[in-house]
């Protein structure tokens, strides 16, 4: 099989796509990472039949191609991910926070949102942990994964990971319990795991009112890549969707400078931000 090689992105195209990205996602692209952005766009160029990133940018500009613009931005900002990234935080969320919340509200429904979910490794990691937690068995738990890229959302829905992706962060026992190999040597999440994760296209800059309200929102390595204006807008949207007493989880080493006052950051774990207020049933408030 012969692969077409695309020319490296020129500086004018980078500026145009960086402006588009800032406008659509609030995120900032860095000129020092041109090779990375070229690699991220390559599948889209190949799929849509463009000969270069410049031709793609020209098509978005001249034809006002809204969907293609969003897809381009989604690909540029999506760096993939790994399973069980920061496992201590994930265990805290499931084994301590959600378990305590379920006990406090005497059952009922729990709702979790993986915002900016990329290719879904974090959502599936959470789904695996939820299934392993005896205290949460039998409870009604909604787990929603969203991303602004429809390609990313389709990948999450399919639950398919390359030979390399499946081996990063996932133990062999969990891999065998929840995934099966396909003919091309990629691995696909089994039906019961896929069914635990609902997926939807959503841009963090947009109001999330239609998604309902959540007990736990995990949004890692997204907010800090945004310009300050985008950060504020996204954080307002997230805080608006978090139930009183709910928890917002950001990245382990992420610095969030404009966290709304409604949040109180944990003194020990600086990436855990509790929303002030009394706990109430998620289902009732959704």
């Amino acid at each position: 099989m012969q692969f077409h090689r695309f020319p490296a992105m020129d500086s004018d195209t980078f500026s145009e796509l960086a402006d588009l990205t800032l406008d659509r996602s609030g995120q900032v692209l860095h000129p020092g990472k041109l090779a990375l952005y070229d690699a991220r766009l390559m599948p889209l160029l190949r799929c849509e039949g463009f000969s270069s990133a410049a031709e793609l940018a020209g098509c978005i500009r001249e034809r006002g191609h809204e969907a293609l613009g969003s897809e381009t931005v989604g690909r540029l900002v999506n760096g993939g991910g790994r399973f069980f990234s920061d496992p201590d935080t994930l265990s805290h969320c499931v084994d301590e926070f959600l378990t305590a919340r379920a006990i406090r509200q005497k059952g009922g429904k729990l709702r979790i949102w993986c915002a900016g979910a990329g290719h879904g490794q974090e959502a599936y990691s959470l789904a695996i942990l939820l299934g392993e937690n005896e205290a949460l068995k039998g409870l009604s738990i909604d787990l929603l994964a969203t991303d602004m890229s429809s390609e990313a959302v389709e990948r999450i829905r399919a639950g398919t990971y390359s030979h390399f992706e499946i081996q990063k962060g996932l133990s062999v026992n969990r891999m065998l319990a929840h995934f099966r190999p396909l003919a091309d040597r990629s691995w696909q999440a089994l039906g019961p795991l896929r069914n635990r994760v609902a997926v939807r296209v959503h841009n963090l800059l947009d109001s999330a009112e239609g998604l309902g309200r959540f007990d736990l929102i995990i949004c890692r390595r997204v907010i800090s890549t945004m310009a300050p204006v985008g950060q504020m807008r996204a954080l307002e949207n997230l805080s608006d969707r978090l139930l009183p007493g709910g928890l917002l989880v950001t990245g382990e080493h992420e610095t969030i400078s404009c966290l709304p006052e409604v949040f109180e950051t944990d003194a020990e774990h600086r990436n855990l931000h509790a929303r002030a207020g009394e706990t109430e049933g998620a289902a009732a408030a959704a």
């Binding site: 790994r82 081996q167 190999p181």
Partner: protein, 121 residues
């Protein structure tokens, strides 16, 4: 410093895996088949073993069964490293005594991830 024995009949795989594991701060030794690896283990048990499946003289499954029966042979953490991706076959390696499993081809991130899973790093 922890020790790791890399067992594979391919010199290239031994070299590549060895470099990756050295970067994880292990002292690395090599063997090209299960029998040679068993002889090395009888001299001194390593902390970890990265183990190929198909090899001449003694394959990975026969090696790990013999290792686990040997005095002190329960101690090394064994990470199988083979191109086999059939869940049944992977299960066979685990039942024989492997602690983790890497499907070839691998990169440094995968080796690091799998060594983390079993508490080696």
């Amino acid at each position: 410093m922890k020790t790791c024995l890399v067992v594979d009949d391919s010199r290239v795989v031994r070299k590549v895996a060895g470099r990756i594991i050295e970067n994880l701060e292990f002292s690395v030794s090599e063997a090209s088949d299960g029998a040679a690896a068993l002889a090395q283990c009888q001299e001194a048990m390593p902390d970890a073993i990265l183990l190929d499946w198909t090899m001449p003289v003694m394959n990975g499954i026969d090696f790990i069964r013999a290792l686990r029966r040997a005095p002190g042979g329960e101690r090394p953490v064994v990470v199988f490293c083979a191109s086999e991706n059939d869940p049944e076959r992977i299960g066979e390696a685990l039942r024989a005594g492997a602690n983790e499993y890497v499907i070839k081809p691998f990169d440094a991130d995968i080796i690091h991830s799998k060594f983390s899973q079993v508490g080696l790093v």
